[in-house]
Symmetry: C2
Subunit: 292 residues, 2 copies
């Protein structure tokens, strides 16, 4: 059986990324375009996605295309319910693409696609059982991969960053306002979380307090994932995962002290970096053309 | 096609309950025996279970038997990893039963079986999507039913009561020490949670504080389930669900204030009462003999 290449496309808030891979996962080409602003109908985004398909096809005609988008996504019905970054509401984006494509189209959500990528060919490739993926970037979300399939919950699963804190000094804040790279930077009035991490390393008291708040809120969120879904591993991605031991050591400690008699999942740094969703989109496409 | 009866058996900490049902769910008979104490090998429990099978068979020979037990249960490998109430550790209970049974045997965990019962024929029978079941009894646990199948997570899913609180006046307590009927009674020094609920109704300040702590901790746990797994409905069972509006009204309020832009699940009182696990065991048995 000859398996042709597949094209994975990740429509993000600022860029649209595509990767063409052959059957053994070798990347045949990568492309990137800017996300059009104010494209509430999805028409401009459709044109860019179709343009990427055309460009990639000059290298190798894809046997299937996978497209993932951010926000609340109902994969089952092919609808982006709400994507703040794109300005989309109840947009059946796959329906805009299908008439112009002569190959099968897979549609998904970026965090769940990233989770799939980390579970299949990333940090958790050798781990059995349920895998959780938690990208800690401008915001905070999560996704579960159960028996090799991303769990969507009708589109609403994984909104761990949107929970509103009820007690203590952070009452009224959403979890991601504390526990995301974006939240850390904003609270510190810094350019990015890396700047804050550097200040932590040099002993800056205010930076340390903000960092500890983030670790605590993140540990609380991971404990919540663990007691509900019992993943064997949690893959931490996004910008904050680059902090390495400064994040992972206190985070693991915080997770352990929150779990009494419960099995504690492995914490693993993501391997696919900011390519995770693109790789995952490619896996979704591959599954359309390969016997499972 | 003639479908014979099935027998569901729930091995609990104090009693072992059996229900024989025919293909349309009609209960042909119910039986109950006391749970033997100190039966760490499971041999005495096996004899009682086999005795119940023999007794039920006089009414109608079951086509399959379903047995569920409490604690951390790995259904996939047929092992009870840990059941505090029974004194069991790493006990392959189904292996004790199979040699003496000439019909198929299903094995499961009580909370997940109860969840299945509420999802299939109970409070959430008419609800589509993922269903969560949260029995609030002597302890606190949860289970998810995804696409009609209880989610086990290798046995460790749903331990929401075991999370250790890190902040505030209850630091160091496990969630179920606040948010369970058992926890409420213990904190109030009362016989049971019903007594505390009556004291709340009569304006007892100490009872009200304990009740509010329970509602808050439970709302926090339900918010945790929601952001991770996005159930469309959460079925509340166990003794505390009998409190009705005194529980459900503040609980729904507490859940809404914790979820910002997230879809809020319906809260439903359980319908099967303390028969839920027995009914669920019967459904597991039925699925062994019926095309899905």
């Amino acid at each position: 059986m000859t398996e042709r290449a597949v094209l994975g496309i990740d429509v993000g808030g600022t860029g649209i990324k595509a990767a063409l891979t052959d059957a053994d996962g070798t990347v045949l080409g990568r492309w990137r375009e800017a996300t059009p602003s104010g494209d509430t109908s999805g028409a401009l985004t459709r044109d860019i996605v179709l343009g990427l398909v055309a460009i990639a096809s000059r290298v190798a005609a894809p046997a299937a295309v996978g497209v993932v988008v951010p926000g609340v996504v109902d994969e089952e019905h092919g609808v982006c319910i709400h994507a703040v970054n794109l300005g989309w509401r109840d947009l059946a984006f796959p329906e805009l693409l299908r008439p112009a494509l002569d190959v099968p189209l897979a549609f998904g959500q970026d965090v769940r696609a990233g989770a799939l990528a980390e579970a299949v060919s990333g940090a958790a490739a050798d781990v059995t059982g349920t895998i959780a993926f938690v990208p800690v970037g401008t915001g905070l979300a999560s996704a579960l991969v159960i028996d090799g399939v991303p769990f969507a919950g009708g589109g609403w699963a994984g909104e761990i960053g949107q929970r509103v804190i009820q007690d203590g000094p952070h009452r009224g804040l959403r979890v991601e306002e504390l526990a995301s790279a974006g939240g850390i930077a904003r609270r510190a009035g810094a350019r990015d979380a890396k700047t804050v991490a550097d200040a932590v390393a040099s002993g800056d008291t205010a930076a340390i307090a903000i960092w500890n708040d983030a670790v605590d809120a993140l540990a609380e969120a991971l404990a919540g994932i663990t007691v509900v879904a019992a993943p064997t591993a949690i893959v931490i991605g996004g910008g904050l995962a680059l902090a390495g031991a400064a994040l992972f050591e206190p985070l693991e400690h915080g997770l352990r002290e929150r779990l009494d008699v419960v099995r504690v999942p492995q914490l693993l740094p993501a391997r696919h970096g900011d390519e995770a969703a693109t790789v995952g989109a490619g896996i979704l496409a591959r599954r359309l053309v390969t016997a499972r």
